[in-house]
Amino acid sequence: MALPQMTEDDSKQRIRPIAVPAEQREPAPILEMPGDGAMSAIRKHLTSRGSGAIADRIFLGLMLACALSIFAIVIFIVWILVLRSKLSLTQFGFHFFVRSAWDPVSGDFGALSFIYGTLVTSLLALAMAVPLAMGVAIFLTELCPRRLRAPISFVTELLAAIPSVVYGLWAVFVLVPIMRDQLGPWLYKYFGWTGLFEGYNFGVGLLTASIILAIMILPIISSITRDIMLAVPTSQREAVLALGATRWEMIRTGVLRNARIGIVGAVILGLGRALGETMAVTMVIGNHPDIAKSLFAPGYTLASVIANEFSEATGDLYLSALIEIGLALFLVTIVVNAIARGLVWAVTRGTPSRAH
């Protein structure tokens, strides 16, 4: 019996199943093995279930799509905000950010007073929170008895998770009266000569907003700083101690100097949080667009003007000016956060910190 001649077509048919992409491969080629009618039971079972190649690809595709959706969200937010603020973008251009006019009646808008309020409250809050947060982080990582460590970090985590509006509620009923009746007059009496504590003290204003901001960002800064300091290898500490350093010298040269990049990152992260904090600030800042030297004066921040005026904004230009403020806030916090995350990651190598 002559063997059948192998034609061009046949060879293609044999080779093709291996060469084609995985989607078309399964499971036909194995099932139709020529001349081999009896397959082993195991092979039959496996092939009848398919190789999973298609399912795997679909699965990977789905997961990838969801991962990419995070990029999509960012791009989409920028796009929609630019789209909706086009009116104000074209009308005022860059001057929007250097003019302090805010007159919804005559349609004249500028964001300078809000930028001022945001910067003053955020920087003041940082000035109050950073030294304290450093102290807490140093205490927690270097000095604290092991037994106290967990409860204290638990409390700070809990406080970092309390909603902004609840802090605002507390500030309205506790902090504002304290500012009005005790702290404010005291500051005026002893530091009035600086010119920072002048004018009528309502209890609400830039200083009150800064204090509540400081309280809110403290747990965040201290817990990230703690994570960063814990990432410094113990051998560094031991090396410095072995040279005869005191504990503080060990912390300064062995820990803080090694962790300084990450600590700067933690502080900037706190700044990003302070810049965008909305509800608590809106409730105690007084909501008045003004550039005042006195810290008692009511102010306005970028976030609080949106929160306060957005749902009452009449007219397209008014609305688009507010959306432009939102766009500015978004871009600034994106940049600030990107810098901060980069710095923190450089130290902790990508492990996320406990409090965001």
Partner: protein, 312 residues
Amino acid sequence: MSTNPLYTPPPGRDESPLHIPLDINSRYIRLNRVRRQAVNRAVTVLAILSTVLVIVPLVAIFVYLLYMGASSLNLAFFTKIPAPVGAEGGGMANAIVGSGVVLAIASVLGIPVGIAAGVYLAEFGRGKMLAAAVRFTADVLNGVPSIVMGISAYSLIVTVQHHFSAFSGGVALAIMMVPTITRTTEEMLATVPHAIREAALGLGVPKWRTVLSVSLKTASPGIITGCMLAFARVAGETAPLLFTAFGNQFWSFKLNEPIAALPLQIYVYAISPYDEWHRLAWAGSLVLIVMIMVAVTLVRIYAARGMMKGAS
């Protein structure tokens, strides 16, 4: 003769000390030691002081919130809708249900996307540039002010529909949930031992099945807790709901109508001039705080078990 870079000569002596035997009991060295120890003590005291200065007021705030909330809470809070201005009583039943509706929408939209993105990062993206970029973007997105999410959802949905709606509020919160859940899921999956995955793959289980039935299942307690934390966090968000869900004084269950939400109601009542409303605001805060406490505590328990190292 070269000078010793590690040694600053005492004032009045400028010669290099290398040829002089160091007298560790000399007056200068002794004073230096006293100074260094004094600085050490001062800094230690400062660190302890700042911790006390931070922890005590924060705990005081917390206890005050609990106290005010507990003394304002009653059954009517959970069963009645807000009373008209000036009338006694009333509750936030509609706001609690409204929060539930908005959060349900947010969870349905946000949790699957967040978990899937986390699965990609942990199971498929190890060591890839793309995964690092996603991770970074998620962390950055986490820090974006919530009010921006509110404007985005407003611009996307409310301006198209021409009215405020529960759905738009849910979308705003969902966007906020995604990055947190993504990062937690990734962290949880990273704690699953490789041997388990390899065992499954070695048995001929397809990759997708391995991920779903082995990796995710093993990490599920941690992932569920992470989702709870994200849920608790957005449950307290007010800013994104201001001009999406908008608030409502009455019952509402429809997705395309304005709906009440607990944090919104707290905000409105806190800045109102009525004592009765203030009382309700405190009670509402207590409900939010208790929810968050439960979530954070659960995360802590898993963290202590080593399930969620570094996740939040």
